[in-house]
């Protein structure tokens, strides 16, 4: 192979705040890239992953970013909201691609304002909308009381404006119940929630706080079936709560779970079985692993399109163009079909709702998008403030 | 079997500062010996070298030998030395301030390895120092200086020592207490045959009660001998005894000669 390799910087937090997800997510990313390389690369170009721990510290993120850039990386994934937010300007100045699937700034979906930033998956706003939509189509929303129990951080507060607007439209009641970060102790919050007697509870957190939320909810007599979670709810959380106790809980998901998918089957066959996997093979097919795989399928697809259309050597601007050419791409069924355009970097904001059965996540809705106008408005206003200096 | 012998001991602080330079001494069992010397001569350092307490001050024995009975002390840690019957009453008392006098004594009790019961030892201490018994329940940190000194000595006695080293026990004490403490030291030495190594500034009182004394200056032993002999030495008289305690301080406001034996 004498074709230039394509370099991706996967500079993530393996040791601090996001340890609950990074391991599996990054393993999925690496395994998929290995699969691509095993299958001959992208038009003969191998993909090289530069993997570094940033410990979620901005200065380590900056260093890793600058170093990887010097080594020629043209795509970055920090899987860390603060690091991504901190580097947005730099990335746009350097004209390299930053993907922020399921983290980072939600308004980065606005492609004209953030030309080099690609959420590629549903923002938290879209997630809230899709969850609301699922309730609407199953039990109806009107007259319901919804409690949003969230971690008290910008991320936790993020869905509120969208939900409030939907509440106005659909005529239900909504109230926020913040708990102090990191969320390992939420009892006072749940005493309040129980007295509110909600019909549905949204839990909006990540990591340990999520399983504490679920436990507290169940202990307070809330039926798991009435719980809706942001995308960060996985098998490990279920085990922590007690796999059987959590049956019926529903979450947003951006990708399918399990290995029942052509890409995952090929990963198992060509990467895991020959022993080329990047980690513990029991993780293959887990929620976060599959999210990792999906992020890379999109990136590789973008690279493929860019090479096809613009030719080697691949650069940041070319890769950006590649992303904006993605149309109806669904990673062979692993994720909803997304179409990324110069104005919409979210790819439509698709996702679905799935339910915990005691051993796995079973989809209860189709890939869909919801309340696009409300979400779009939120993205626009937020992006406008950014464009106006912030 | 509990004689103490130092030969040629050298101590360096902080890897650079040579504090004592080849000190040799010998103390026989049951003897009462004083180590005299001016400030900074190295008296405390010598005692710490014997009791093994140089470590925390970044001091190190770089040369020489210290034997107690027939054990070489240098390889033992401080608690092991106490176990062998060698105890050091530190300069400045250093009682456990947040503990009561009673608890101070408990802390020093050797438990299973002790020969006598704690109650027996404690009562003996209180017999020597009845005043401590009165204050047995208040925090030691609030005792007066003299009481703390008594407690420090009592605490040392609870370890059932064969040799006790006292570093300036009279420091800051009222004359009446100095007399009391000295007489108790003498009593302990006489009655129980406890070997005593006494470091003191109060040379006059010290030479009254000890058998022999060493004089240390600038980290070196400059003189030694029977108490009576030393008392008769004119230099000792002038620099340590103040000519029999009858100095007219108003009259000394003129140039004084320095010690002769200094280089």
């Amino acid at each position: 192979q004498d074709k230039e390799p394509i370099k991706f910087g996967l500079l993530q937090d393996f040791t601090a705040v996001y340890t609950f997800v990074t391991g599996e997510y990054n393993q999925g990313q690496q395994d998929y890239l290995t699969l691509v390389n095993e299958e001959g690369g992208v038009d003969g170009h191998m993909i090289e992953a530069i993997v570094r721990d940033t410990g979620n510290e901005p200065q380590r993120g900056i260093e890793a970013y600058n170093r990887a850039r010097e080594e020629g990386a043209i795509l970055f994934d920090f899987l860390s909201t603060p690091v991504s937010r901190g580097l947005v300007d730099q990335v746009m100045k350097d004209e390299v691609v930053l993907i922020t699937p399921l983290h980072g700034r939600g308004d980065a979906a606005a492609g004209e304002t953030f030309p080099y930033v690609f959420p590629t998956m549903a923002t938290y706003w879209s997630q809230a909308a899709i969850l609301a939509d699922q309730i609407k189509s199953s039990d109806g929303l009107e007259g319901k009381k919804i409690a949003v129990v969230h971690i008290d951080s910008p991320f936790g507060r993020e869905p509120m404006p969208v939900l409030e607007k939907i509440a106005e439209v659909e005529g239900f009641e909504i109230r926020a119940f913040p708990y102090a970060s990191p969320g390992n102790e939420q009892s006072a919050t749940w005493s309040e929630v129980r007295r509110y007697r909600p019909d549905v509870v949204f839990i909006w957190g990540a990591g340990g706080g999520q399983s504490v939320s679920v436990q507290q909810a169940i202990r307070n007599g809330i039926d798991p079936a009435a719980i809706r979670s942001v995308v960060w709810m996985a098998e490990t959380d279920a085990n922590n709560v007690g796999a059987d106790a959590m049956v019926g809980l529903k979450r947003f998901e951006a990708t399918a779970t399990g290995t029942d998918n052509p890409i995952l089957e090929r990963i198992v066959e060509k990467v895991i079985e020959p022993g080329l996997g990047a980690g513990d093979s029991s993780n293959v097919g887990s929620s976060y692993y599959n999210i990792g795989v999906a992020t890379m399928t999109v990136a590789v697809e973008a690279a493929r399109l860019a090479l096809e259309r613009e030719g080697a050597p691949l650069t940041g601007p070319k890769l950006k163009a590649g992303f904006e050419m993605i149309e109806g791409f669904d990673a062979e069924g692993l994720m909803p079909p997304i179409t990324i355009t110069a104005t919409d970097h979210q790819g439509g904001g698709y996702g679905r709702v799935s339910e915990w059965t005691g051993s796995e996540w079973k989809p209860v809705s189709d890939w869909t998008t919801a309340y696009e106008d409300i979400v779009h408005e939120e993205i626009e206003t937020s992006a406008a403030t950014y464009a106006g200096g912030n | 079997m509990s004689g103490l012998a130092l030969s040629n001991v050298e101590v360096v602080y902080d890897k650079v500062f040579l504090a004592i330079k080849g000190v040799s001494m010998e103390i026989k069992e049951g003897e009462m010996v004083a180590l005299l010397g001016s400030n900074g001569a190295g008296k405390s350092t010598t005692l710490k070298a014997i009791s093994g307490l140089l470590g925390p001050e970044r001091g190190d024995i770089t040369r020489g030998e210290i034997r107690f009975g027939d054990t070489d002390l240098r390889s033992l840690g401080a608690p092991a030395r106490v176990d062998r019957g060698l105890v050091h009453v530190l300069e400045g008392r250093r009682v456990f301030g947040h503990l009561t006098p009673d608890e101070n004594l408990v802390a020093a009790y050797r438990g299973g390895r002790a020969e006598r019961s704690f109650e027996e030892l404690r009562d003996e201490v209180y017999r020597y120092f009845p005043r401590l018994k009165e204050r047995a329940r208040s925090k030691a940190g609030y005792l007066s200086g003299g009481e703390q000194q008594m407690l420090a000595i009592g605490r040392a006695l609870v370890t059932e020592p064969k040799l006790i080293m006292l570093d300036e026990p009279s420091l800051g004490l009222a004359p009446v207490l100095v007399a009391e403490i000295f007489s108790i030291i003498r009593e302990i030495n006489r009655k129980h045959g406890l070997t005593v190594l006494l470091v003191e500034q109060n040379a006059a009182a010290t030479l009254e009660i000890v058998n022999r004394a060493y004089l240390i200056e600038n980290g070196q032993i400059v003189m030694s001998g029977e108490a009576a002999t030393l008392k008769a030495n004119p230099d000792v008289q002038e620099f340590y005894l103040g000519s029999g305690g009858k100095v007219d301080y108003h009259a000394i406001k003129h140039y004084r000669r320095r010690k002769r034996w200094l280089a």
Partner: protein
């Protein structure tokens, strides 16, 4: 002697249940050396702490040169002309002897952090001016040889002398010494006495001294006050007060000559 510089009137101090000073009154005359003696725990240091502002007496008042000083904080009292040393040497570790003594000039300096920004123009001049006074005191107390040593490595006797030097640098009108000779042998005691006398004479100070060395007390103090258990048990010219039977019993004991 003339009028009193320091007047203590009916000083009372409690610590929890302990009545450490039970209505002590005393007057110290201008230019005299006044001894404060008594058994351990009798309240000497407590009285001195009241005078220098560390403890507020619960009852009673203290006048210095006619001005009430009880209730003032220690640094104000220092600025008013009283300097002191401590029973347990309280020098600043990590500073050299010189710096410690220079600290004594603090009340004449302007401790403004901005000085550091314009060091060459402002602070340096100030420092140099004060150095002259410091060198004088160093001369007086014969501390030349240790001037640049770190203060914690010099012998205790010298440390006490440095503390005295630091106190003198503040150009006080009254000097309070808490056991300046504890832990000294005869020779060092003699040196210390000489320095105290020199300083008192040359700088025209009034001195309040706590000391357990009887020979020193009787020979240098003009008058003494003897405390026992927070009470005044004797006051007067040194030799008379010290031979008071109550003092002998409480403080000196049978073998007074031994010390």
């Amino acid at each position: 002697m003339s009028e009193p510089v320091l007047q203590c009137e009916n000083i009372n101090r409690f610590f929890g249940g302990i009545h450490a000073l039970k209505g002590i009154s005393a007057e110290i005359q201008q230019g005299e050396i006044f001894g404060l003696v008594g058994p351990n725990g009798s309240g000497k240091t407590t009285l001195v702490n009241c005078i220098t502002g560390f403890y507020a007496p619960q009852r009673g008042q203290i006048l210095f040169e006619g001005k009430q000083i009880n209730g003032m904080r220690p640094h104000r009292i220092a600025a008013n002309g009283i300097a002191r040393t401590f029973q347990n040497v309280a020098l600043f570790k990590g500073m050299s002897v010189l710096e410690n003594i220079l600290m004594g000039r603090h009340i004449f300096m302007n401790p403004n952090p901005l000085a550091a920004l314009f060091y060459p123009f402002w602070a340096a001049k100030e420092e140099v001016a004060h150095r002259r006074k410091v060198e004088q005191i160093i001369d007086l107390l014969q501390l030349e040889s240790v001037r640049d040593e770190h203060v914690e490595v010099i012998p205790l006797g010298l440390q006490k002398r440095v503390e005295l030097a630091r106190a003198l640098c503040a150009e006080p009108r009254m000097l309070v010494l808490d056991e300046p000779m504890a832990g000294m042998n005869q020779e060092e005691k003699e040196y210390m006495v000489r320095f105290i006398l020199d300083a008192q004479e040359e700088l025209n100070l009034s001195v309040l001294i706590i000391e357990h060395h009887l020979d020193v007390v009787t020979s240098i103090c003009d008058r003494v006050l003897v405390l026992n258990d927070g009470n005044k048990i004797a006051e007067g010219p040194a030799r008379t007060a010290m031979s008071d039977p109550e003092v002998v019993a409480a403080y000196i004991g049978g073998q007074a000559h031994a010390a």
